[in-house]
């Protein structure tokens, strides 16, 4: 993987100083909420499948 050159500390400071706050867009809220909800649902599903179809003898 190609890595661009590392910036100096001064360049990093000026880059970070230029960061502006942006309001959270509806699409971002949807992305965050949707990801977490889907994640929890999928984890529950995977947990069930792994215990039923891929059990490990303890």
């Amino acid at each position: 993987m190609e890595h661009p050159a590392k910036p100096s500390d001064a360049e990093m400071a000026s880059e970070l100083a230029r960061v502006k706050a942006e309001p959270l867009l509806p699409a971002e809220k949807w992305l965050i909420g949707g990801s977490v909800s889907l994640g929890i649902l999928l984890l529950l599903l995977l947990l069930w499948v792994s215990r039923v179809y891929f059990p490990v003898e303890v």
């Binding site: 993987m1 500390d9 880059e15 942006e22 959270l24 947990l47 792994s50 490990v56």
Partner: protein
Amino acid sequence: MRSWFRTEDTLAVILGFLMVTLSMGVVKGVDLLGWVVQAKVWADPALAIVPVSKAYANLGGLGSFALTYAVLVLLLSSGAWFLGERPTRFAVRFVVLFPIAYFCWVLGHYVTIAATPDKLKAFEGATWSLGLTGEAGYLVALIAGLLLGNLSPRIAAWFAPAARSELYIKTAIVILGAALGAKAAEASGIASAILFRGFAAIVEAYLIYWALVYLVARTIFGFSREWAAPLAAGISICGVSAAITTGAAIRARPVVPIMVSSLVVVFSVIEMLVLPAAAKYFLADEPMVAAAWMGLAVKTDGAAVSSGAITASMVLPDSKNGQEWMLLTTSTVKVFIDMFIGIWAILLAAIWATKIDRKPGEGSRGVPFADIWQRFPKFVFGYMATFAGFLALGLSMPEQVKTLKFGTTEAEQMRRIFFVLTFFAIGLSANFRRLWAEGLGKLALVYVVSLFGFVIWIGLVISFLFFGGVQPPAATLTGN
């Protein structure tokens, strides 16, 4: 040769395949890799290193070290040429770097540091030991790299062209695939259960961690979208690769993921030092939970798989077989997370192009497939090929599993050498001074809050849910 082919990932796959292929010579009765140097737990320095195969005993320890050293200089310098770099620039530095790193590895095998209680009796005069096993050499290499890198940044900068932790760990992981594939074949039931549980890691890293870190970075710390997306990827997925791939997906300026990456390396070192020790004390009865936890919580491939190796040696110091199953768990979790980077990047690129960066009246921006593919960690294909190849061979010819395992033993020694190089290189490149650089504190704070606030704890809970009570199967062939 095309530039997309001449990458670190391709080189890692070539080197890994080469080692695995050479090691399989023993299956046909030809020992092609037995000259590789191997460190043993020692009290007498003269017995600290030996060739890995008795067939090369006449070389002696120093002879096998010299041969390993020469072959690695030659191979990796050719690799530098393959990557379009000056081979001499690499070689001059590697010639110095390798003996230092290997000395640390050998030092970690000193009886007082490494000998486990059952082995201590074999060493006359030795009455106690830390019992850390020879894997303590990884920590010695890491600490030596950290000291050198942070006390003498100029020396670290000089070493930089040869301190390629990503190349070394990717090569090691491709080699590891063969050994773990052969191992999985002897107990395919638990291996498939571990592989299936790897899907949980994908869900956790991308859907839970990423979203939460993005939320924290955007709302609590006020970072812009351009910063929050790569930062969330760096903290939640797999460090450097994920930050850079995500940066490409949302068309962030290159400086953004690079700054995030410099933080990822520093924090992964902290995790490497703290989490295995925590696992040893709190998860001694749950080795597979500890192993999965390393894969879920520690970022960057190098740090995660290395932490898995250290944790395995700390939690199960007396069982090589158990350590191998733990390492299978950590690497499965990590590689499953890696595999999904491309899909996640395409998803983010599509969302950014159609919903977030789209200006009124403008058409939809295209998804940068070429950028994403170029930055995808392609070495995972090498790991999957060696793992699946050896697993398939073992399952189709069960009577050959023992031979396959024996065949990977010599490549495994080379894998350990690449691990040592990884630890030393990570130490060299982890510049803790960056944490105090002007402005970087806020970025670091997002990392601290996310990592210690929820990433490692959610990782622990998920590891318990999916791996709680699971024990490595008893050794069937190795007798360990």
